[in-house]
Symmetry: C2
């Protein structure tokens, strides 16, 4: 792991393409942006793009490829989205069909790839700013909850907002807002501070996804829009065909964490 | 004018709908966001939406309506985009066909309306922050220039980036960046400071659109992405059918200027 963290994403993608690296990407290419992948047929791409436009906090779009083109020309020129992720999930009619290590057999000329920002980026920024990130400290996955808030629907796509939660000491809540507000393409500022009940969350100790983390006295649960939202929404629409990255097996971009601020936009 | 500046946008839209107000909207409904309008057939909407996604600085999307639906449900619930602007331009095959005061005769069920943020919003914020806005002080339109930079193309849409220029005293340039960076949906931070030649602009005194303004000693030309870009790009593609607002006759939304910050997104 120590080695992979120092390797440039270009080189990591090569290791992944050749099969030399098959594991999850957490800890790889320190300081570079990792992205969620959603691939849909062109016929559904407008609705999904519009869904992302209407819900930019859970669905921060880094890049949308042209139909059939597997190269994310902005986020990683020269990369091949069909082979440069360690593991993919292929869905038909909303059901998981197979997990594969490349898409060469299933790629189609009508497929559009969506790369979405992920919260790895701001977790690192929070730590740098002196805000503890509990799930990292405890070696767990972040706690995620389905809320009672609906996303703004778009055509075939609709569903509830999913949030991630980090317990933050009261005096550091403002700093956590300031820091994450600088990364609108990694979900940006929190959507809610405190009062989980207001989001329809009755038990913080039982997240819908990820792991429960300890919440200490004097800590406030702070909620950010979560990248599980677009995947859940896409799946809910039961598209004829869809591909995503396998959990934890993300796409490594050439973008630096610090580039995900407003001026990237 | 003084009266219109104090009138709520809802009421102004009613005056516009009934024909009581037919003029430009500059100075109307102080403190509320005015928006550019581009209407395209659904068949072109994906490419245009993708163009906006790929070029968010010149094309900050406030809202995209569902096909055939004239109501911008987020920016102004209850409004009717077919009648609530004082003046529209209707284009066929890229040529101006007519200027009309409502769209009731030309509206179609396949039309999608795009509302885009405009720099009125940040001009006000600059003034409030003590940064002089020369074209307002001189009672002119802002200076706009076609640059040598290409927008990132998307399907049918491509073209050069158009910028607006404001001369800013050296000590206030940083403040002008800070203030406008807070409004990513009104073009955000500048794309360039100083050195017009680097953008291919040879004579600041001869803007391609708008008026020339005086540039005083010690002032730096600061360049922001401009909302003329999407209109120019859309027209360049010669779509079978397109509608825009007539210059200066914008759509008055119910959004407050201050809401156009990151958390609106």
């Amino acid at each position: 792991m120590l080695t992979a963290s120092k390797v440039h994403p270009k080189e990591m993608r090569e290791k992944i393409r050749t099969g030399e690296w098959q594991g999850p990407t957490a800890g790889c290419s320190d300081g570079y942006v990792q992205a969620n992948l959603v691939v849909l047929p062109r016929v559904l791409a407008y609705d999904f793009l519009l869904f992302c436009q209407r819900n930019p906090k859970p669905c921060p779009l880094l890049e949308v490829t042209d139909p059939g083109d597997p190269e994310p020309r902005r986020a990683a020129p020269g990369a091949d989205l069909r082979a440069d992720l360690p593991r993919y999930r292929v869905y038909r009619e909303g059901a998981l069909e197979q997990e594969v290590t490349d898409l060469l057999q299933v790629w189609r000329e009508d497929l559009v790839a969506f790369l979405l920002g992920c919260s790895f980026t701001f977790d690192v920024a929070l730590q740098r700013a002196g805000v503890p990130v509990r799930h990292l400290d405890e070696g767990k996955n972040v706690s995620m909850y389905i809320t009672n808030r609906s996303c703004r629907p778009a055509g075939a796509f609709s569903g509830p907002l999913v949030v991630s939660m980090r317990p933050i000491p009261g005096p550091l809540v403002a700093r956590s807002v300031e820091v994450t507000a600088c990364f609108p393409l990694a979900h940006g500022a929190p959507i809610h501070v405190g009062e989980p009940e207001a989001l329809g969350i009755t038990d913080l100790g039982r997240p819908h996804f990820g792991d429960a983390v300890s919440i200490r006295s004097g800590e406030i649960p702070v909620f950010w829009a979560c990248g599980v939202t677009p995947q859940a929404v896409a799946m809910h629409a039961k598209p004829e065909f869809m591909i995503t990255h396998a959990p934890g097996h993300m796409f490594l971009t050439d973008l630096r964490d610090d580039e995900l601020s407003h001026s990237f936009m």
